[in-house]
Point group: C2
Chain length 509, copies 2
């Protein structure tokens, strides 16, 4: 057995690494976490929706109790602002409690009963269908959300809600924060009577590769780069048993400003865009990367305001050295492209650390192809000037799909907004009107997903229905009542069910 290596962690504000007492997980450690998760699976399912809801709320309480310690750790490891991290912890606990509500409500089970009876094909059996947990899930923590998309994040919350144990592969950017979150979750598991191994975590890139190859893992949730996602897809394709991979990958998040909107409120749009581009140092998967602005007087005013705000923006700390280098490389490469017109940069760093200058470059719609139309992770956006609707439409049709697409228009532009919506819908999972794509509410109606390359999934990774990714259907045919899940037994009124084609809603208490 190889001795586990100590993990280096980093202080992005100082731009330096230091040794921690966290260690890389050996293959034996990964296998053990998977074994424990697989052993926990039937018992975890047996605790039922009530038990799992108690667990999820217990996690929220434990994270809340450790708020100051966890946020302080995240602050040190990520360089993200204090208020943002407090907000993220609030969002993380809200998400845990939200999924507790979702499973208590129970519609997600899709409980369905068809009684035996005659059909045009002859006598039909009694069929009862419900979704059940898929089994242990591997979750890859993201660099940019040390809580909400990491150990206690949305993939974990939705998998646990579904009844699937979770093994997280921690992100290297925040190992100590991950360990604190895992400890809080383990305390909640113990306090609410969950089986050992229902949550676990492993550290290190090599450990991640071992994790997705483990035959006990039945699905993978991932939020990260397109390259990272494709590497995992290749590993998964080598398994004997292919399993679902839910990747949330690359997204340019186009924002379209109509001439009327630019004329009516160009300054306000510029200010909103500036906030959305630079929030969290642009390290958000919904950051607006392409802004389509009319090449007219009002458009010019909008762009000038945006440039002025951006030029006055302090250099921002990014999460790690890799992002620091790749952001600077991309920004510098882009500046040299023939198609780029003006280029505007934020303030130079005045302090040490992995600090980057925000930037906006300008191109004409006709020149929008190749690397300039791809995601650049960080506080960077491309302003795309367009001369008329046709030119804009052509540029939009050529875009890759994104998580979001945003339209700024005036109320009287009904037909144009409809046409733009139709055009953009195949390119995005969320369409935003007169707002900004950053900021993603966890709720029943949320979708965080979109066609390739933004994701590879027909499911969302945020919101109530994210749970569907970790479930599969089972039908019981002519089953004795004693083997049926409670929700499928005659007379049960605990959840919404479809009985002989008719939806029936439980009586209100």
């Amino acid at each position: 057995m190889v001795a586990p290596a100590q993990v280096l962690t980093a202080d992005p504000r100082g731009g330096a690494y230091y040794l921690t007492d966290i260690h890389e997980s050996t293959p034996e450690v990964v296998a053990n976490a998977c074994r424990l998760a697989a052993t926990a699976a039937p018992e975890f399912e047996a605790v039922g929706r009530e038990g799992r809801a108690r667990f999820l709320r217990g996690i929220a309480d434990e994270l809340e109790a450790e708020r100051e310690v966890i946020v302080a750790s995240a602050l040190r490891e990520t360089g993200l602002p204090d208020a943002r991290l407090h907000g993220e912890l609030t969002r993380t606990t809200f998400q845990m409690r939200f999924f507790a509500d979702v499973i208590e409500e129970g519609s997600y089970l899709e409980a369905t009963i068809d009684h035996a009876g005659d059909t045009p094909m002859g006598p039909g059996p009694d069929l009862r269908r419900m979704l059940v947990a898929i089994g242990p899930v591997a979750v890859f923590g993201a660099s940019n959300f040390p809580m909400a998309f990491s150990v206690p994040g949305g993939d974990t919350a939705s998998a646990l809600a579904a009844g699937s144990p979770v093994v997280v592969k921690d992100h290297e950017s925040h190992p100590l924060t991950s360990a604190l979150c895992l400890a809080a979750m383990e305390r909640a598991a113990a306090a609410t009577g969950m089986p050992a191994g229902v949550v676990g975590a492993v550290y290190g890139r090599a450990a991640g590769a071992v994790l997705v190859a483990d035959p006990r893992i039945k699905a993978v949730g991932f939020t990260g780069s397109l390259g990272g996602g494709e590497a995992l897809m290749t590993l998964i394709a080598q398994r004997d048993e292919p399993i679902p991979f839910y990747g949330e990958l690359a997204s340019v998040n186009p924002v379209i400003v109509t001439p009327a909107a630019a004329a009516a409120r160009g300054d306000a749009i510029a200010a909103g865009l500036h906030t959305s581009i630079t929030a969290s140092a642009g390290q958000l998967c919904t950051k607006p990367g392409l802004v389509f602005v009319p090449s007219d007087a009002a458009g010019d005013v909008l762009v000038d305001t945006l440039r002025r705000l951006l030029a006055d923006t302090d250099a921002a700390v990014v999460l790690n050295e890799r992002i620091f280098n790749s952001y600077n490389d991309t920004r510098d490469t882009t500046a040299k492209l023939d198609v780029v017109g003006r280029r505007t940069e934020g303030r130079e760093p005045s302090q040490p650390g992995w600090r980057v200058r925000a930037a906006v470059v300008e191109v004409d719609a006709a020149a929008l192809h190749g690397p300039i139309a791809q995601e650049c992770f960080g506080p960077f956006a491309v302003v795309v000037g367009y001369t008329d609707d046709d030119e804009l439409d052509e540029a939009l049709d050529a875009l890759e799909a994104s998580l979001t697409a945003t339209i700024h228009a005036e109320p009287e532009e009904t037909a144009r907004v409809s046409a733009l919506s139709t055009r953009l819908r195949p390119k995005a999972g969320r369409l935003i009107y007169n707002g900004y794509p950053t900021g993603l509410l966890v709720s029943w109606a949320q979708s965080h997903g979109g066609p390739w390359p933004s994701t590879n999934s027909i499911h969302t990774s945020v919101g109530a229905t994210a749970i569907r990714r970790f479930l599969r259907p089972v039908t019981w045919q002519d089953a004795p009542e004693s083997v049926l899940p409670i929700e499928l037994r005659d007379g049960s009124t605990s959840v919404v069910r479809r009985v002989d084609g008719q939806l029936t809603i439980p009586p209100i208490d």
Copy 2:
């Protein structure tokens, strides 16, 4: 451009090929079908649920009107019995009408509205979510169901219901039947005002490869062999854009008979098994391939009855030469395995054609591994003798997953049936009690799917929710009413919706 080759079709009853006036689809023909499908997509969605329901019912009517011609063609091309083919056409039209009902009812849209309001994370926007069509779908027709899993089959019906145009790759076993079905569907499309290209078909293996590689295709439905499915998965992995592949592949469909059930009704179970093993010459994906019988006096009686019935079974026509050869090879190879005990065969063919002898071989549970535990497509089953519950459980744990698992037990065996159900659930998508796995009702509660290698999907390919495979979620944020789908507008009562977390059911007319 290469001249298209004429297609050979076969008469399984005579075991010979003859030339038809069908031709292999050239790459140009495939590209054209995909282009038409992509062009049809927005218009097909715009006809709405009512329009698509009318189309699906129109297809059912057109197929019914051509019943005699279609069944006669299928009879000639497949060698399947007349009654079975009439039943299959009835099932196919029922399925079309069923999906019309499903989309009219509208729950499948998952329409969800969260009004703007305060949240713990600050003010939340107005979010409205619905599932929308994924885009053109490629459907691979199956050899063993020339209608119900081919051109007008379940994949096609559910994709059309979802609003996705379909390009079918016809199965080589029944090109003329496929052409007749396509013509009926095209007449229905014209009669109900659907856009050109909403259904299309291509012929030939090479055409199938071109089809799944076409960038306009957004999902693939497949029912066939594990090898065929894996070949398509490899092609799909080479696309720039990965797309969902829904494969229904290999399944051994274990049947467990408890000692008490064998004692109480061994003869009846043997008769039921015999029918299920030999129906449609065993060419059903739910054919019981492994039958676990107690090694005791009652079990011996059951097996003797099954052997007697089987020995008295006429040779049956199989679909094509490939199945004829591979069935005979597998049967002969199996007979030579050391682990095999007795072997029982049905009658020898007394007529020409691709006729095969049914067969049952016997093994001990302890010896059940390797090829003997894999699917053999045709009228073949392995009887597995077990001495006690522990030996049975161990053998079940070692099995690959299937579409179905069946338990025959007596009413008083409550605890044992529960334990068996828990053990089998991770191994199957449908659990059947005191029945037989063949026969698959199209209904709300049906599931036709299971863990790998039976499928690679967390969705069913049969029943109401099969439609979910061809949909993806979209959320509209703060959208003006005019761009929203009708189902998401304020005051709409056409479908079930979740509004601010509460399910609301439309008023009954």
